[in-house]
Amino acid sequence: MSAERWKDDEVLLESLRKGDPGAVVELLRLYQGKIFNLAMSILKNESDAEEATQDVFMTVIRKVGTFQGNSAFYSWIYRICVNTCLMRLRGKRRNETVSIEEFMPVFTDEGMHASPMDDWSKEVERDALNEELGRMIRKFTEELSEKYRVVFVLSDVEGLSNEEAAKVLGLTVPAIKSRLHRARLYLREQLSRYLREGRAE
């Protein structure tokens, strides 16, 4: 994350601690979009995401006095958001998600790729296809189970480093790398299938 962001957050943090009323409005302005969207990516429906977002802001505001500064302010906020959302998921009937194993690359005994390999990488560099690719990535991401989806959103969408994501989720860095890698492999496979089908028309 950029140095400017760090500085803004420092200033905001100070004002929040002092109980400056404008600070809360500023907190909302800076984070409501990100928190709501992060909640949406975990909870997948607006009502839950909205309530979770309210809970997150309430927690942040009330606990800002106890924030130690061991991590960046924004990663602390994301952590609160992830925990709030995951707690909500517990005990709720889970939506159907895909089994990621089906999308992992398969190798022969000799270590060669067992499935046919199309190289569609050059094609998607064209602009029109780019936008569609973005849409398809979002769609396929939604179908992943939270275990992989949350890591993917934090790392590849929100841009957190492996170390930051590890802190937010309470996982080890190797665990983050592994889940991220599998999420990417899944996406690659989904995109391949989608693009192959499109071409067959």
Partner: protein
């Protein structure tokens, strides 16, 4: 390892070895290229992502933050009940509009395609249409949550009534 290769942080000797293999092995080359394209795709997504938050959610959030719900958590229940009441009212309005044949075409389409797959909602909406008015009281919980989801599927800002 693949991630390191794609973002340039792989050990140079290892990279040389991998490059050598890739030049001789088409499937692996295709795999690596498509993997890299996937990662590029998500990076571009990050650059263009808009953190859209629906207007009414944003307004409620701001009202919440300014309200005493923050200081007095017991007021949260009251606050949430109010939101729940607002939603129920909207659902009742939707069913009323459906009963009177006054849905916008986008909404009618959404309702139709949902009802084609959902006998409960279909039965409820049909009954309303026959009498011209929705049944008294709230719809059953399942139907209620389907109709809420349906309204949330409308493009932001779109009203469900015919102009």
């Amino acid at each position: 390892m693949l991630a390191d290769y794609c973002n340039g942080s792989m050990d140079p000797r290892l990279r040389e070895e991998l490059d050598g293999h890739l030049s001789r092995c088409e499937p692996c080359m295709a795999f690596t290229n498509t993997f890299r394209a996937t990662c590029d795709g998500t990076r571009k997504l990050r650059e263009t992502i808009e953190y859209a938050i629906p207007d009414e959610v944003r307004e409620r959030l701001e009202a919440f933050v300014r309200s005493s719900a923050l200081k007095y958590p017991e007021k949260m229940r009251e606050y949430r009940d109010q939101i729940e009441r607002d939603r129920r009212e909207k659902v009742a309005d939707l069913v009323g509009a459906a009963a009177a044949g006054k849905l916008s075409s986008a909404t009618a389409l959404l309702v139709e395609s949902h009802c084609a797959a959902c006998p409960d909602c279909s039965g409820y909406i049909d009954a309303s249409r026959k009498t011209g008015t929705p049944p008294a009281g709230d719809p059953p919980e399942g139907i209620q949550s389907h109709l809420i989801a349906l309204m949330q599927a409308l493009p932001p800002g779109e009203e469900f009534f015919l102009a």
